[in-house]
Symmetry: C2
Subunit: 541 residues, 2 copies
């Protein structure tokens, strides 16, 4: 049935624009051209300079024949070039694939091949891994070498120097907003719980929405000074490269997490905001009293992953941090829930405050739906804080899907909801709290480790009969992999060290089991390993 | 050319949701059920109670057969019912037509007929006008009577009482988000300086965007306490009914602008934000010193329309207000530009600060394009602060169009831009400053004279309360400026010559008013000076 509102009121160029975070840098460079955009070592760049570099990058990539729907991979730490990639690459309709810099050559090679990367921008620190990965490829991408003065070591991975590449680009390059906000903006590989990593595809609309959502739930205001303690390769830095740019903030770069350096940068640049895994916050407690007292302003920190214990929250807040707990996954552009704080909770004893804060909370404005439901029936569980169900999400900040994997996409999005695989309860106040993971993923130092991938490596050992890997609580890393191994009956003596050394050849360092236990594996009647039993054992070790 | 990103990554129910401000109240009522939503006289309602009432309203309207694409008109001051209409009406896909309560019966009748209103919700204060308007209609709408205890006079306009109507509604009513974000959410008639008013149609996407945009440019944070000094019938209260709800704020209602009452409410409820025409701010200067000192916190005020003169800004800021200047039109959902303040301007002398602040500024995040261009060629004018052009806008917060008026829509949106009809310059820093309405500019001896510039000079006169300048036909010069001036109540005798001599020190000779008339200024229902009335008067002089 049509109404009077259905006629003569169609979208036109005047009243419909695609939503994209790319507009943020155009707006900010125009209004605040001389405001500080980037701080990195001795480098200081304004928004106009940064915008100029992004346009040059877009232009230079375009000159290489790269365009709409092409993948550009980046193996970079949190340096200005990585920020530039978040704008320069999608400016030409290309898709940014930020690679986890801790991965091994085999996995990187898989990603470059699966994502069909046409170009790869790489920091010299990862030269060896990249050289090894490239050697495995039939059609290697164009490689662009980044020589960061803050690293200052290693040798060129390619003849094509990033700075020279930019110089050849046109700062007046005429780029356009995407004509469809559903167009892909980035590709982020999950750690892959079963088999190969899956390529999560984000679009412009979702990136715009989550960037705005970050600002909205965190009340960031204008000109935040954001310290990059969170890897930009993690869900595109939770969309903060776009948020901070949109609000004309300053990106304070950081190659790697180093507590002393973090405190120094906070104090020197009056950092107002940062994000990171609990381990990052935890690490800050190790600095000296003098360093702790080197700044007096409040630093707002969002943290996600395993909830920080009460003692950590208390200690870190005493230092001058105000901690906000958020939660998300690669499939949803980073954080999409927030433990929205209520002023009446300020009065509670610290333990109670910490347990309230440890909850994953409520949905962002920009997430349409958050539900804890029965994994089978997908009916919501009662809001009793007890009944465990799976977390389901829906909305514009749920991924387009997995690249070249329609089956996995359909499975993940079946029934009109994204299935997170995380188990949680819903409290009477509507706040969600994670209780366990369906998929047994281990989060170590902010990195996801698939237990299945580690088990896979263990199973390759000639003397291993069976293996199961579970998480074990760790003060420093949050969690670490703990391996339970049954040796073959005829096996010679095998030590814990032998097993770990064997894995070292097959896994990235952070994925190595920190502990190996030789024992029988407890099983269900149908022969499935009872991981919850092993988790309990691991805790006791 | 298709790419790997074009296959198997289509929108589904899980990863695509329509953007609509309706979601805000659902989210806020769920997270902050017991937080204060509404304060009105002795009435206090929480977010859960307010949400309940909105659902009941939707349900009750639905019971009357009203649904998608139907118009529901409201003739209400800034009272809780008006806020409820902003959610309850679009919850069933209907379109809210908030009527300007200062209009006459003939105009109201035109709007009800043209908008095909199926229901009309009316406050008893406007009973007479509405009765007269209804008498003119062949198909009068269902009328719902609002008996506000804060008014407490008049008689019922209809047997159908709003509260009784709500009681019959279902608080558990199952409403749905629109299936298309382009769907109409509201209808706002322009004041129509020539011929009949035009019905500007807003959609859900635009309302969501401008609501988020308000928060973003104003850094409002959570839980703003918003005093309704701006009529909600003005561009849907500049989308603030949705913004304040989205950020779980408190709506402090106000039937009419009354300086003493405003100060009392600010002090009593710790109002943090308000908006209004410069005349509203101006009126606050009239309160006693004791009242001025009755609050000590900062109140953030956005103001639009004719730029407040330096002296007003200075005086109002001394009282504890922080003034942000915004600009917009009915056709663009209220404000879409903001004079984004820069901290380095804080150091400047007050006159300079005021003239910077008087500029209309830069686009919201949520407006895609803002351009000062040649009205004919639509090419941007140089950023020289001198060349006058027309302001053009484009983006998601430009109206769908004018209801049942495809010609006017096409004319207003021709060439891919909304033609504002406002004349402005673009300064070297990219900030836009309005010089005049296209039709208000005075051309004297071939020279363009900005009436705003002349008014600015008049406002600096110590005894001038208000001033308006229009063109007056002149045999020799074609047109000359004619000034209408209202003196302050306590002003001594001031002559025409005094005023002209005062201007002589501040304006080029050809810009001096040739004629000064001392009188009250005729105003529109929305507080704008009716220059066409003054022009007619000037012709007769």
């Amino acid at each position: 049935m049509t109404s009077i509102y259905d006629k003569g009121l169609e979208p036109t160029e005047a009243n419909h624009a695609t939503l994209s975070p790319l507009d943020f840098i155009k707006r900010t460079a125009s209004i605040y051209p001389n405001y500080p955009a980037v701080i990195h070592g001795d480098i200081r760049r304004t928004w106009l300079e940064t915008y100029d570099r992004c346009c040059r990058l877009a232009s230079a990539l375009s000159n290489k024949g790269i365009g709409k729907g092409d993948t550009v991979a980046a193996m970079l730490p949190n340096i200005p070039q990585m920020l530039e990639c978040h704008f320069g690459v999608p400016m030409i309709g290309a898709v940014l694939n930020a690679l986890n810099t801790r991965l091994d050559a085999r996995t990187i090679a898989f990603m470059l091949e699966h994502g069909e990367a046409k170009a790869l921008i790489v920091d010299r620190e990862f030269g060896d891994v990249i050289r090894e990965a490239l050697a495995k490829l039939d059609n290697p991408p164009i490689v662009i070498d980044v020589d960061d003065p803050e690293y200052g070591q290693g040798s060129a991975v390619s003849d094509l120097d990033y700075e020279e590449f930019l110089r050849r680009g046109d700062p007046e390059f005429h780029w356009e907003m995407p004509d469809d906000e559903w167009q892909a903006i980035s590709l982020c590989y999950t750690s892959g719980t079963t088999g190969n990593p899956k390529g999560v595809v984000y679009h412009h609309r979702g990136a715009y929405e989550n960037a705005m959502g970050n600002q909205a739930v965190w009340s960031m205001g204008m000109h935040p000074v954001y310290l990059w303690t969170l890897p930009m390769f993690h869900c595109n830095g939770w969309c903060f490269p776009w948020t901070i740019t949109g609000f004309a903030g300053t990106h304070v770069c950081l190659r790697k997490v180093d507590p002393q350096k973090i405190i120094k940068l906070i104090s020197e640049h009056k950092v107002t905001h940062m994000s990171g895994a609990p381990i990052v916050l935890n690490s800050l407690l190790s600095v000296s009293e003098k360093e702790k007292n080197s700044f007096s302003h409040t630093v707002h920190a969002t943290t996600a992953g395993a909830a920080p214990p009460a003692k950590v929250i208390e200690a870190i807040e005493e230092m001058g941090f105000s901690v906000t707990h958020v939660y998300g996954l690669t499939e949803v552009y980073g954080p999409v829930t927030v433990c929205a704080w209520k002023k009446e909770w300020d009065e509670l004893p610290v333990e109670e405050r910490a347990s309230l804060k440890a909850r994953q909370g409520v949905r962002y404005h920009t997430l349409a739906g958050l539900m804890v439901g029965d994994p089978q029936t997908m009916k919501p569980v009662p809001r009793d804080g007890k009944t465990v169900g799976e977390i389901f999400m829906r909305g514009n900040t749920v991924m387009k899907g997995y690249l070249k994997n329609p089956e996995a996409t359909a499975e993940a999005l079946r029934g009109g909801w994204f299935h997170t695989g995380d188990l949680a309860v819903c409290h009477p106040d509507g706040y969600v709290e994670i209780k366990d993971r369906l998929k047994d993923i281990i989060i170590s130092g902010g990195e996801n480790i698939s237990t299945i991938e580690v088990e896979d490596a263990l199973y390759r050992h000639p003397h291993v009969l069976e293996a199961a890997v579970v998480s074990r609580p760790d003060e420093k890393w949050g969690e670490t992999p703990c391996a339970f191994v049954t040796l073959k009956p005829d096996a010679p003596e095998v030590t814990e060290e032998d097993i770990i050394n064997f894995c070292r050849e097959r896994l990235a360092k952070f994925k190595l089991p920190k502990k190996v236990v030789f024992s029988e594996l407890p099983k269900t009647s149908t022969g499935k390993v009872q991981k919850f039993v092993l988790r309990d054992q691991a805790k006791e070790l």
